[in-house]
Symmetry: C2
Subunit: 315 residues, 2 copies
């Protein structure tokens, strides 16, 4: 293994060098031997970044909205990090040419750092790697970190829970959008965005959403009223309203103490994800793996049930 001066890398990242940031994220992503040293070196510097989660069904304009928000924060001279964990996102490799071109300004801006997180691999891989990457950006002094995920599936819901403020995007005429919202993302939203608000049906979507919010109110308690912001991300229309809504929510988080509670919950989830991964790595050792194979054969053959097998594995 090559020698890495972790302390120097963290210093460089904090001085604003994108290559150092990229290197640190690779180190935490790859489960390198330096992983623990990196995590330790980052620790004193975390907790300053505002973490925003953006989620919504495919086709709603998440990437364009992320791009719009990046512009709005840059206009306020804030440094912005983006973690894209959406397989359909142009950030993460599934780009249409037009989207890539639209993002080009940001990718050459040294105060903007964009990183896509692979969505494949081991169970729990993303659940560990994404919070670690977030810690790198936080420690490196980015004022805002945007975490963009597609709003379907359990792993995405888990990742959304990393955010201080979660923005759920919908668009007019997307039955799927409302369906996905029903399936769970409605509850995680702090701020709603109806994107493509210049299209037919935007009023209906806003009305439907308002109705759903009013129904959910009883359970959520009275303290935060989820705003609905209309945007046209392709033109930047509504960006200021969205930034205001985000600032309002941040102020609410601070004033109620919810920010500290959310961040403690995030840390708890992070510790658990790391711990589960460690345990899994132990089972992956040669002898443990053979034992698991033998148990699996017996379960597949109907000689043992998976609960009894798990008991034997955990021991």
């Amino acid at each position: 293994m090559s020698r890495v001066d972790v302390g120097a890398l963290v210093d460089e990242a904090r001085a604003g060098r994108p290559l150092a940031v990229a290197r640190l994220i690779s180190l935490v992503e790859d489960e390198s031997p330096h992983l623990r040293a990196v995590a330790e070196a980052l620790s004193p510097h975390v907790g300053r970044a505002r973490v925003l989660g953006l989620t919504g069904p495919p086709g709603v304009g998440k990437s364009t909205s992320t791009s719009m928000l990046v512009s709005a924060f840059r206009a306020r001279d804030l440094r912005v990090g983006v973690l894209a964990v959406d397989p359909s996102s142009p950030f993460s490799g599934g780009a249409l040419l037009g989207d890539r071109i639209r993002l080009h300004d940001h990718t050459t801006d040294p105060a903007v750092f964009i990183r896509s997180m692979a969505t494949r691999g081991q169970l729990g891989g993303l659940a560990t790697a994404t919070p670690q990457a977030l810690r790198v950006l936080d420690a490196a002094g980015f004022d805002v970190v945007l975490v963009e995920t597609v709003g379907v599936g359990q792993s995405e819901v888990d990742i959304v829970s990393l955010a201080d403020t979660t923005v759920v995007l919908l668009a007019p005429g997307m039955g799927d959008g409302i369906q996905a919202a029903k399936a769970g993302i409605l509850e995680v939203a702090d701020v709603f965005v109806v994107n493509k608000a210049d299209r037919d049906g935007a009023d209906t979507t806003v009305r439907d959403l308002r109705h759903m919010i009013s129904l959910g109110r009883r359970e959520l308690g009275p303290s935060w009223r989820q705003p609905i912001v209309r945007t046209v991300a392709t033109s930047g229309s509504g960006a200021e309203d969205l930034v205001t809504a985000l600032a309002d929510h941040h102020a609410w988080l601070v004033s109620t103490g919810a920010l500290g509670r959310r961040r403690a919950a995030r840390a708890r989830a992070e510790i658990e994800a790391v711990a589960l991964r460690e345990l899994r790595a132990r089972w992956g050792g040669v002898r443990a793996s053979e034992r698991l194979d033998r148990l699996a054969e017996r379960v597949a053959a109907g000689a043992l049930d998976p609960y009894a097998a798990a008991d034997e594995l955990v021991g």
Copy 2:
């Protein structure tokens, strides 16, 4: 807790009583006190069902295709179970009225059992509950079990890995479909379906897909040639071709021994999911939970990194 005669329930399920099947699935879903007794009672009866996974991006016609396949299998007098883990699926509650009506025939057929799996809840919840529900249907004597998932996100990829044969659905003119495919579902496909094949662009989609398959061939090895089946699920066109492709793949699985390997891999994943869940439950105990809270506070405050915290937790 109410008294449950697990053995009698399993007997009733095996005799074809839908209520017993539903009851058993609820018992494994709810992590009831009877969970282990159910798992044990099912064990000797599993391993007979053919498990088919259906996945693809939203809007591709997964539910209609599932419905078409159910009809095709019923015409062969096979008993069919359906597990829908797609939040946008009509099976799982996000129905448009038309879809529900289309499915109505099946829902009143006692040889067809349809169950939607909730996509929300604890980390790993679905990863545990879906395979257990699959075991119930398998033990109850369903000849075929269809597992329908939306093809984005890590958890869905994990669930797809339950299947003996994975069918990936695409449709003409869906850039998203191809993007999703690129993001990973291409590799998990045993059989491709181009649904809505009567629409413009179907030939292009088939050609693109054939091209991608030829590029991927080198890595996959020569042994199974992924077929591309054209269907119009709303009219049932292509159903026979699809059933043939599925039978061909099953024959290939049996002749090469891949079936046994896949099922052992499924059992391994299942044991791991249960074991992780057990460990997580231990941490959820009152004292363990307080310890985790204190660790989380220190991590959130930057006094400890998550790896060091996980070490303390695991001990």
